[in-house]
């Protein structure tokens, strides 16, 4: 195995020092002289037409600088999702920044910019809006039914998207089955709960060019969407990449309302405008879509799948936005491709309702799919008395199989079996007791779930940005600056990209700095999403560092009178391989390359012959070569109180084929944090809305409970399997999303093992447990 200098070491995170001493660089801290503050007026009604808006009183309030109403906002429908083109043919373009047509309670209908946030808030109360109320529908299946209120002209039956994928012969497959299982699995609407609110500052230059600071997950996506929404060329917008943001998890993967509104208000006033959402507004800006999955599966006696029919109904809310893609990813990567079944049909609907818009959330459709499929897989094993681990292995892929989703690619590294066996052994799965065999009120159970196919990016879809780019620039003090648009949401991109450059240039990590970047100067990089950053952005940064190293060695060859091919880097020095005496400081070579056009030789100044004079820098702009699948299996032990219905997770073991472990502590952090979100999803989190008015009722952390340190299990163990993925940086592939795809199904299966209660709709609340146990 190759020896690495920095890769694989848990180096201190380069951003940690700043974060423990105050955290200067969050977008929420951006402040400009003369800055105004914007607030949005939101509709209290879920479906209405605006008849009139009177802003005269608001405008008269001292300190109010501008008011914005729908008629002043360009009506340019688009998809605000960052990872596809605004007019992507696979997405639905139905999002407009402001409209007189209201489709959900919370939709912005006017905005104010004022000297202080308080004045802006006060002014909102002075705006008089007259609405004509329209009939509403909140349930997607009701919305699909005949006679339901229609939300969009372009979508009869409220169908935002309908897709069908088939393989094999379904009828034949069911005919071959010895047993057929059917179930309906329902998931709920949850929020990513990033801790830093969505915020932006937009400054319009005298010529109308915009500079934008925002807490988004993608600088280039925001540039594209914002320019399009305003009807201006992209080059008229410069988006500054935040050095880091306070969490995202997919919840900051689309342009919200605040960026275009702040931009318009800045243009109107000539002043920088800041907009920060309240927690309540954040809740209704983005959420994971609820999906109802109808699952019918045919199996042979030995557990081999013969047929599967899946129907998925996604509640898109008032606008399709992410919903038109989540439904696809859910269908293909959440249910169809992970399992080996010759005859399958998946049918998916994304349906308009008068609910809030959905968004991206770590796993992007797969947690909903995994919950359904892995719950049913467990039911099948239980009913047929099959070994659940052998059952999974029988119906999944093997290393070396053709990639089921991406033509011409192979599953080069694929260690699901190791994940399952090592995880099972660590938790003691062999000694697991039969379901519901415990005594007393507190019953323990063990369950697991796996997801046998996922992504390290998005290669394979025609429409999704996947390119990455980076610049690596060497300084005369033997340090490197890295310009990349890749945003660190907290998952550790700053750390990993630093490690990669340090490794390639054989520098200490402290000598590598991820520097300022904006869309004016950085090469395009796809968003931090789809578990792609380490793999795709990592490969680009590695290529840029290698390009810089090549130029450095060429310059060194010239300075040292050696063939660059014979030179190596070591500890900040350049030397001829195997000849430590020849070593020259890297700093000297870089300085020589940057020196004026003469060199000082023994006979005085002589013209240089160095061809590439000046700053040594490397550049890479590239597509990722493949999309290796990570795999993971999670085992949990729970304790269920059969008197109160409360479920407590005691222990978690998560095994994951990560390709190569670049930073153990960071990787463990992904597993631990992913489980926390997964446990919240499984047991407690749910956004609740008023059935009549559609108003959100769980808009703060007192009503929307997420796991605290007390509810979390005391033990979360991570097992990393290093399969050395040939296409990845140093053999690495992805990790983050899988950690949140599997927990809900694992917990549901463990609850079943403990109590015999099979709960098919999330979250598994005490009430549902008691009901399932016949105690309510």
């Amino acid at each position: 195995m190759t020896e690495f200098r920095t890769i694989g070491r848990s180096i201190p995170r380069p951003d940690a020092f700043d974060k423990v001493t105050g955290g200067k660089h969050y977008p929420v801290n951006v402040s400009l002289p003369g800055m105004l503050h914007a607030k949005l007026l939101r509709s209290p009604l879920p479906h209405a037409r605006i008849l009139s808006i009177d802003t005269s009183e608001a405008e008269r309030l001292p300190g109010v600088r501008a008011v914005l109403v729908p008629d002043e906002v360009p009506r340019i429908p688009l998809t605000p999702v960052y990872f596809t083109p605004v007019q992507s043919p696979t997405m639905v373009q139905d999002f407009v920044v402001m409209s007189r047509q209201v489709r959900w309670a919370g939709q912005p209908v006017a905005a104010v910019a004022a000297d202080t946030p308080e004045i802006a808030e006060q002014a909102l109360e002075l705006i008089a809006v007259e609405y004509e109320e329209l009939p509403t529908v909140f349930d997607p299946e009701e919305a699909m039914a005949e006679g339901a209120p229609q939300l969009h002209e372009h979508a009869p039956g409220n169908i935002a998207k309908h897709e069908v994928f088939s393989m094999g012969d379904l009828e034949q497959g069911f005919a071959e089955a010895d047993h057929v299982f059917e179930g309906v699995y329902q998931t709920q609407r949850v929020h990513t709960c990033y801790m830093e609110p969505r915020v932006c500052v937009v400054d319009s230059d005298t010529d109308g060019r915009l500079t934008v600071w925002s807490s988004m997950q993608h600088a280039f996506g925001l540039r594209e969407k914002l320019a399009f929404a305003l009807g201006i060329p992209e080059s008229r917008v410069n988006v500054v990449k935040p050095r880091y943001i306070g969490g995202g998890f997919g919840g900051k993967l689309d342009m919200g309302f605040i960026e275009p509104i702040a931009a318009l208000l800045s243009r109107k006033t000539g002043r920088p405008v800041r907009a920060e959402q309240s927690r309540g507004e954040d809740f209704i800006t983005t959420a994971r879509h609820p999906i109802k999955v109808y699952l019918r599966t045919g199996v042979k006696k030995d557990g081999t799948f013969t047929a599967r029919h899946i129907k998925s109904i996604l509640d898109a809310g008032a606008h399709a936005t992410h919903g038109s893609e989540v439904i696809m990813v859910h269908g293909l990567f959440g249910t169809l491709f992970p399992w080996k079944c010759p005859n399958q049909t998946w049918e998916g609907f994304a349906v308009y309702t008068n609910n809030m818009i959905g968004g991206g959330y770590r796993g992007y459709g797969a947690p909903q799919g995994c919950f359904a499929v892995e719950s049913q897989n467990d039911e099948i094993c239980e009913a047929l008395g099959l070994d659940p681990i052998e059952f999974r292995l029988r119906n999944t892929w093997r290393e070396g199989d053709p990639h089921p989703a991406i033509e011409g690619h192979t599953l080069n590294t694929y260690r699901l079996e190791d994940c399952l066996r090592q995880g099972a052994e660590r938790i003691g799965f062999g000694e697991r007791r039969p379901a519901a065999s415990g005594e007393g009120t507190k019953r323990r159970g063990i369950g697991f779930a796996c997801h046998p196919l996922w992504v390290s990016g998005c290669v394979g879809f025609p429409d999704i940005y996947e390119h990455a780019g980076a610049i690596v620039k060497l300084n005369r003090d033997a340090t490197a600056d890295v310009v990349t648009a890749c945003v660190d949401l907290g998952c550790g991109q700053i750390t990993v990209l630093t490690q990669i450059v340090a490794e390639e240039l054989q520098l200490p990590p402290e000598s590598v700095r991820l520097s300022y970047a904006d869309t004016d100067i950085a090469p395009f990089d796809a968003p931090t999403h789809a578990s792609r950053a380490t793999y795709s952005a990592g490969l680009a940064v590695q290529a840029a560092a290698r390009d810089a190293r090549r130029r450095l060695l060429e310059a060194a060859g010239h300075v040292m009178g050696a063939d660059p091919q014979t030179l190596v880097l070591e500890e900040g020095r350049v030397m001829v391989r195997g000849q430590p005496d020849s070593a020259r400081p890297m700093a000297e070579i870089i300085a020589r390359a940057e020196a004026p056009w003469i060199e000082v030789g023994p006979e005085g100044p002589v013209p240089t012959t160095l061809e590439e004079k000046g700053t040594i820098m490397g550049l890479a702009c590239q597509a990722p070569p493949s999309n290796p699948s990570p795999v993971g299996a999670e085992f949990v032990e729970v304790e269920v109180d059969t008197e109160t219905g409360e479920v407590k997770v005691l222990r978690v073991v998560y095994a994951h084929d990560v390709g190569r472990l670049l930073h153990r502590s960071g990787a463990e952090g992904q597993v631990e944090g992913g489980f926390q979100q997964g446990m919240g999803y499984a047991l407690m989190e749910q956004m609740v809305f008023d059935e009549e008015t559609g108003a959100h009722l769980t808009g703060d952390f007192l009503d929307y409970k997420i796991p605290t340190a007390v509810e979390m299990p005391r033990s979360i163990e991570a097992i990393f399997i290093e399969s050395d993925e040939p296409s990845g940086p140093y053999g690495a592939k992805s990790l983050s999303e899988m950690c949140l795809i599997v927990p809900a199904a694992a917990i549901a299966n463990a609850v079943y093992n403990a109590t015999g209660a099979r709960i098919r709709d999330l979250p598994i609340t005490p009430e549902k447990v008691l009901r399932a146990l016949g105690k309510l």
Binding site: D15, K24, C193, S665, G674
Partner: protein, 163 residues
Amino acid sequence: MKQLIELEINGQRQELLVEPHTSLLQCLREQAFLKGAKRGCDSGGCGCCTVLVDGRAVYSCMTLVMSVEGRSITTVEGLSGEGALDPVQQAFIDAGAVQCGYCTCGMMMAARQLLDDNPDPSEEEIRKGIAGNLCRCTGYAKIVEAIRLAASRRQGHSVGEAG
């Protein structure tokens, strides 16, 4: 009506002109320009805004600045003295307890009060001690580890001094 009040922030006396409804969080961030305390919810639900008032951890978003007139406020900026990090800060770095970091400053203030009250807390005591502070990234495992590490280092430190 604005009113002039005096606070001691991180050991320095400061006069500030505040409104009756101004929260301590607002005042720290916008008037004292200390950005360590963060707003995560503004409603007492997340703990990102935690600071110490006379050594006690409070949600600064739920504290009217008028109500702490004349008292001594410690923010994360006041934790590290003379270039050296507080053991809690150092432990958060060393244990890998920082991801996005947005909860970190509030979390460390809660940890500081916990350790001041109870220099050798058990795991359960640590978990209870930070139950009012949400983190969405880490699952708390490394935060608990960091606080344990800080506790042992602080004890080692005072034993060393006594010896």
